[in-house]
Amino acid sequence: MSANLTVERTEGGPDNGSGPPPVRRNKHDRGNPAFKGLSHLALFVWALTVILPILWTFLASFKTNTQIFTDPLGLPSSISWDSWGRAWEKANVGTYLFNSVIVVACGTAGTMLLGAMAAYVLSRFSFRGNRFIYTLFVSGMVFPVFLALVPLFFVVRNLGLLNTHLGLILVYIAYSLPFTVFFLSAFFRTLPVPIAEAAMIDGASHTRTFFQIMVPMAKPGLISITVFNVIGQWNQYLLPIVLLAGDDKKWVLTQGIANISTNAGYQADWPGLFAALTMTIIPALVVYLIFQRQIQAGLTSGALK
């Protein structure tokens, strides 16, 4: 890639203003075929570095142990789904996937409900302590979760929630609230006031105004943050290995996969590992292909605020 960079520079003229800049009309400049070709080459090479490791994993799930390591770059000699069956049944990928879906579905739903409620009240009502509560929520964004790790473990344990999905869900909700409240408060502040007031004058209660008027109006913001939270909670690794370590029937996908990879060597079942890995990546890939724009917007929304 560095080679491309150098060539691109000589093609494009001096870049640091040393010497007189070549006078060019933008027509010519835009159509420079050498620059275009090299751009595409660089982009293509990076695309390959992203796709190939993933593709290799897919293919390796169909190989045999020996084939994987004696001929790492070869194609599988035959398509056999055995390893997929082993991964799903014996390595419990099915269970982990199900657990992840439960935890993330409840975690995100809870986060969005409580986050939207808090954000709405904090952004649209003035009362004593409003500023303080808002700051309390938002300050959670600056603390690294590792600082809280030890006490958090004991809080969850003392509540009897260690090794339970409920405990993990509540912790996910709690740690997703700072960003959710921060983002949604900003969003609710931009919504027009008169509509909500009109609803109130027509006799709607505060709660009804919130659910039937404000939530629908806030839909774009809610979708972005839902996507953000789903991906964040789905990919969480630290909290499950600390809070669910003791009961492998309750493990979520990330910790299950990491554990399978530790065991793959002992059990000499590498195709099984790659099948498990493939089963983890495919749902993410499918969801990504369908909701690509929302996902990109949702994940970058934090940075663009």
């Binding site: 001096p14 992203v50 490791p53 030890v150 990879s261």
Partner: protein, 300 residues
């Protein structure tokens, strides 16, 4: 909106549950961490005993701690720099400068580049175990074998391992920043770009003197994000490195040591002290970055 009838009750009913959950699971643990850091708490049965700053004395003479701090320093320099340079380069190629329409396939490239961002770091760590295998069975070494190079112990050589982990983090992060910067570049007004082109501005100069200054805000956010990531690294080191942080501590990071001290050695007080150290380091970084990078904002 002022507080019309029934307002107070409504406010309380909407805030109660979020605040209770947040205080129990977030605020209380954070506050306790500062206290636990001053105790010698080691187990579940014994109650914590106050020992003042002893944990910190031990910490500052612990070579593992300094190794981890050094690794955060390296991450802090290398991760943002390399990621941002690659991402800016690709974003620039995709936009062919700024304000103009993107190259053909721009959407496709952005979609592919971004994909690793939606995968869990733990999953990516497992994925790269196969890439980095030290024998000819690994993908990288298999490729080297084609050109007759002996296999390299990517993760088993102490002076190489950390760099290979950083490479994975860069691999995952680049797409996110390409999308971010490409969006920023696309929103640069066409007139500015065309004016520069009419004045005979070359592509390179356009990049450094037009695109970059106008992207400054986005760059700053990106730098903070990657800086925060540099103080983490837990999942990738825990999953991918040899012996979790090895070989011989050459890839360890503070989050990993916190986790290990707490949940393997049951040194809860000591782990909390490490947590406080990590907090101070990352806070210092955030404050410094905001100070140093503050600049006049260019309105357009």
């Amino acid at each position: 909106m002022r507080m019309p009838r029934g307002g107070a009750r409504f406010v309380i009913s909407f805030l109660a549950l979020p605040i209770i959950i947040y205080v129990i699971f977030v605020i209380a643990p954070y506050l306790q961490a500062f206290y636990l850091a001053l105790t010698d708490w080691k187990g579940i049965t014994a109650s914590p005993k106050f020992v003042g700053f002893k944990n910190f004395e031990v910490l500052f003479s612990d070579s593992v701690f300094w190794k981890a701090v050094l690794h955060h320093g390296i991450l802090l320099l290398v991760l943002p720099l390399v990621t941002l340079i690659i991402a800016l380069f690709f974003a620039f190629l995709l936009n062919m400068g700024a304000g103009t329409k993107g190259v053909r396939g721009s959407r496709f490239y952005q979609a592919v580049f971004f994909f690793p961002q939606v995968l869990a770091v733990a999953v990516i760590g497992v994925l790269f175990q196969a890439m980095y295998r030290p024998d000819k069975g690994g993908v990288l070494n298999g490729l080297l074998d084609l050109v007759g190079v002996e296999p390299i112990g990517w993760l088993t050589k102490p002076n190489l391992a950390l760099w290979m982990l950083i490479a994975v983090l860069v691999w995952q992060a680049v797409g996110f920043y390409v999308v971010l910067f490409a969006a920023g570049m696309a929103s640069i007004p066409k007139e500015i770009v065309e004016a520069a082109q009419l004045d005979g501005c070359s592509k390179g100069r356009m990049f450094f003197q037009v695109t970059l200054p106008l992207l400054w805000d986005t760059m700053q956010v990106a730098w903070v994000y990657l800086g925060i990531a540099a103080f983490d690294g837990f999942a990738i080191v825990q999953v991918l490195s040899v012996d979790r942080g090895g070989p011989d501590g050459s890839t360890t990071v503070l989050p990993l040591e916190i986790w290990r001290n707490a949940f393997t050695f049951s040194k809860y007080g000591y782990a909390s002290a490490m947590g406080v150290a990590l907090f101070v380091l990352s806070l210092t970084f955030a404050v410094l970055t905001l100070r140093v990078t503050r600049r006049e904002r260019i309105e357009y």
